[in-house]
Symmetry: C2
Subunit: 431 residues, 2 copies
Amino acid sequence: MYDRLKGFRDFYPEKMAARRQVVDTLEDAAARYGFREISTPALERTQMYVDKSGEEIVEELYAFEDKGGRGVSLTPELTPTVARMVVAKQQELSKPIKWYSTRPFWRFEQVQQGRFREFYQTNVDIFGSSAPEADAEVLAFAADALTDLGLTGEDFEFRVSHRDILGGLLETFDADVDTRAAIRAVDKRAKVEETEYLGLLSDAGLSYEQAEEFDDLVATGDLDEIAAFGGDDVEAAVENLRNVLAAAEDFGAREFCEVSLTTARGLDYYTGVVFECFDSTGEISRSVFGGGRYDDLIESFGGQPTPAVGVAPGLAPLSLLCQRAGVWPDEALATDYYVLTVGDTREVASRIARDLRAAGNVVEVDVSDRSFGAQMGYADGINAETVVIVGEQDLANGEVTVKDMGSGEQTTAPVDSFPGDRASPTYDDLV
Amino acid sequence: MYDRLKGFRDFYPEKMAARRQVVDTLEDAAARYGFREISTPALERTQMYVDKSGEEIVEELYAFEDKGGRGVSLTPELTPTVARMVVAKQQELSKPIKWYSTRPFWRFEQVQQGRFREFYQTNVDIFGSSAPEADAEVLAFAADALTDLGLTGEDFEFRVSHRDILGGLLETFDADVDTRAAIRAVDKRAKVEETEYLGLLSDAGLSYEQAEEFDDLVATGDLDEIAAFGGDDVEAAVENLRNVLAAAEDFGAREFCEVSLTTARGLDYYTGVVFECFDSTGEISRSVFGGGRYDDLIESFGGQPTPAVGVAPGLAPLSLLCQRAGVWPDEALATDYYVLTVGDTREVASRIARDLRAAGNVVEVDVSDRSFGAQMGYADGINAETVVIVGEQDLANGEVTVKDMGSGEQTTAPVDSFPGDRASPTYDDLV
């Protein structure tokens, strides 16, 4: 017997039915905004990640040499791949480019609740617009997806921040501060002790007093005070953040947003607005998913300067939130009909099954040469709503029996006109 | 600029729209038969393939050692994984187990037309039934999927064979023949010269005369003659093949099947009925996809004896067939509405867009702060059927303009009742 790899998961039908419903909900929401599905490779050159992703990601790569001697890696995230794709066709693609896709990614990391080595994300991105409406549309998609799943403003909140506010403030304190390191410190703020956090800020070049003052300022989230304190860059960033929130108001997503400048996002390539979705009840303490602007990435891939903004809900943390809120879909099979054969009735039963399938129903028949009782038990196990019993005796009378599996009631129907013109006839239609 | 790996593909939205339509068609057909979706890991232990798959597959593995020192491989096919999954839950799973899934697989092989290193398959399998109805249901699913794609009996045929007929005949000639090697030779029959083929049979243990006589017999496909020539095993296998074809008749798939004993399938684990789908016109000379029984695999994975039968259409060869037959879906974007803003009308335009999306429409709005002309050009580029123009002037009159992008005709509608109760109002609904 072979075992599954740690951090990898098999999804059997019941669980998969719920996951499929959630993914369909996310993708339908994206599609209604005019995001278009793309499909991308599972392997890329390792060098791309070494150059473009943060150190943390490179350490977690499933990297190896292929039989052609290439250094390749299982993709740990989508963003570098879509950046590559945008650059490859930058002349042909009309802007804004709006793409989505759902697929697995792989990182060799510690397995814990809601975190696996193989994990699924729905990535949604806009390339080619620096306007605040683009940031707001990404927020609006995310809000629609979550409310379509049955979540409400009581369940989740988007903590919205701005990299240029953080970066600008840091430079106001000290022009020589290591902005990246300091922002990475902010990203860790909620996860570490205060002294460690202030220590990280001071490693990045702030004095202890500056670090405290910086933290007080971002913790208040008072945009007026921050704009007044910082230079022109900070003022422009504050205005951009306000414009994004105003567009989010028109787009129906403002009610889910709160300004939270201590939200920073770990990845180095973010610029401008960034945000993270949190469980409003705090029961799930980690960020559910996040997104933001990455205006410099395409250019760093050798493309023309192309602003970009995106979000990537992960299915595992999202399922924790949905379960906490009681909106995770039922993990159950659904079957419209089981067409049961008794005796030598396969020909007629098959004709009925084919007619019902042609109308779009999920229909199972006996493929195991089983007894009446065994077929009934199986029909019950797959949650068949209706069982159509095709017995030799009934057929001699020109009839079939139609049984409602919920109530147990049954009636007969003329075999020649079953299902007839009805797409999905049930017991109730026949009595 | 980074390049894509050879044999791996990026699918941009237009191409992906067509692929999605084809995959949905395959999966919908499977779902209507009561096959249930599962999801499986991209990585498995390399040892599983070394033990269970043919040599050819092992040579083509993307195999490496993970950071935990495990020998792992990108999955080159689904069958060993689902066998592992069946064994892992064999007590809980009620039979028949009917699963489907669509996902990429990876093999390091020569890239050619319709063959890539990353390729997509929809796997459809039944576990736990040895009855001919199970084989026939797999054939019927495949036939439904292809006809749902718009293909007809003029376009494709299933060449149906039986491993035990081939094996039994070989043993009738010579009890010591290497059956596996001889069957692999049969699989190569159409691809190599006759002398090479007969040579392979003689390598497997037949004399040259026996090889010729064996080949004459299987080439005729005369089941009566073959049953008479072979022993009891051959007779039983002939009867099984006939029973499968009779069930396929009831299930609506017989018309697409022809007996072709020279069809053998390359993989070692097949037993019983095997089949391959071919282009009836011969324009595509290679098999489009194949399937068959593999009754011994689950037991060889340490499970209880569990018969199994399945099929796995690959998207790349299937797209060649659909293109040849002229039924490959349009590679084009589809958009219901573009809501165009002129001046400071974002609030109203957003309300209209949200109402239209809530009714399920695909709706884009300006996210790039663009001019009227640029927005119109973009709306045209995404094939918007209707453009709703929300202009300051019109709004002052309480109106919006609704433009049919096909005809170019336009009219106005009261803004307060647009879209109103109508899910998808068009120009024609308004005049």
